[in-house]
């Protein structure tokens, strides 16, 4: 039981994620979490504004069900399958984050500096969360997929466009992490 309650090592987690992808293929679907964002747009009436959203969203209920499960899974994992371990980050990462104003890095899943309501409800805090989400939503649809659709499914299927997309993910991520973070959080 201890092994389940402790954080799971990469060599257990990675193959289990592959299993999720393979199960969905076996069920006649493809693994892709960002597609649900488009479905939500259509459900909200976006089909009146752009042809991109004209499709029968009911055909995507299966994927929304995966999302519902994922929310429940997150709840179960945190409240029933955890021993409260802190995240075993590289001490250099913790130190670097300290210089950017993030204290107690790894003490919880997410930094309170970004996700606690007191910090969220400031102009800067709101802009970071909404803006970060906006870039993810825009970029993932432009690229035709996210980490699940490209990095996991596409690469597993040896599709070179997915490799280009993943290279893009890292170009953007590295620019943000190395060049923009000091501007956003520094000083």
């Amino acid at each position: 039981m201890d092994y389940i309650l402790q954080p799971w090592p990469w060599y257990v987690s990675g193959p289990l994620i592959a299993l999720v992808m393979l199960a969905l293929i076996y069920f006649g679907k493809t693994f892709g979490m960002s597609g649900n964002l488009r479905t939500l747009c259509t459900m909200g009436g976006a089909d009146r504004f752009a042809p991109f959203f004209k499709f029968d969203w009911k055909s995507e209920i299966w994927n929304l069900t995966v999302v519902l499960g994922a929310v429940i899974g997150g709840f179960i994992a945190v409240f029933y399958l955890s021993d409260g371990s802190v995240i075993d980050l590289n001490p250099k990462t913790v130190e670097k984050l300290g210089t950017l104003g993030f204290e107690d890095a790894g003490g919880s899943l997410l930094p309170p500096e970004l996700f606690d309501w007191a910090n969220v409800l400031t102009p800067k805090g709101l802009l970071i969360l909404l803006g970060g989400g906006f870039l993810v939503g825009f970029g993932t649809r432009y690229a035709g997929g996210c980490t699940s659709g490209h990095a996991i499914t596409g690469l597993s299927n040896l599709q070179w466009p997915s490799l280009v997309a993943v290279i893009g993910f890292f170009i953007g991520g590295l620019i943000m992490n190395h060049f923009l973070y000091p501007l956003i959080f520094g000083a």
Partner: protein, 137 residues
């Protein structure tokens, strides 16, 4: 209950991503700093097992549960859309520290402010749909 299997897959996915800490903003930051093998190990081993699994499925001509031959949808032949779109995605991934799967999962872990990130992502998707035809693909 034809959706039950999808609910189970989703729950399993949510548990795995939380227990692996792949949903952690800190792990994403650490990954982009190249200071831990953890995230690379997760993605790498998922792809390694995935390649073998997809190859076996294709080789065995396995039919899916709907009785149809299994085909994975092909991707467009383009570089610009994947490179530009991917880069924009990456900027957001590193800033919010969450990609679409973890966004939903983190709401389940009790971080309700993640709903703002999801709202931003829905808006971003909507904006893409509006200007899609004017972008290089």
């Amino acid at each position: 209950m034809k959706f039950l299997k999808f609910l189970v897959v989703g729950i399993f996915f949510g548990i795995v991503l939380t227990k692996s800490e792949a949903v952690s903003w800190y792990r994403i930051y650490e990954m982009f700093q190249f200071q831990s093998f953890h995230m690379y190990g997760i993605i790498g081993s998922a792809v390694a097992v995935g390649i073998i699994g997809v190859w076996l499925i294709k080789k065995s001509k396995l039919k899916n549960t709907e009785g149809q031959p299994i085909v994975l949808p092909p991707k467009d032949r383009s570089i610009s859309r994947y490179l530009i779109g991917g880069t924009i995605f990456g900027l957001g991934w590193a800033l919010a520290g969450a990609c679409p799967g973890p966004m939903y999962i983190l709401v389940g872990t009790g971080v309700l402010s993640m709903l703002l990130v999801i709202a931003g992502a829905v808006l971003g998707t909507f904006f893409y749909g509006l200007i899609k035809d004017r972008l290089p693909h």
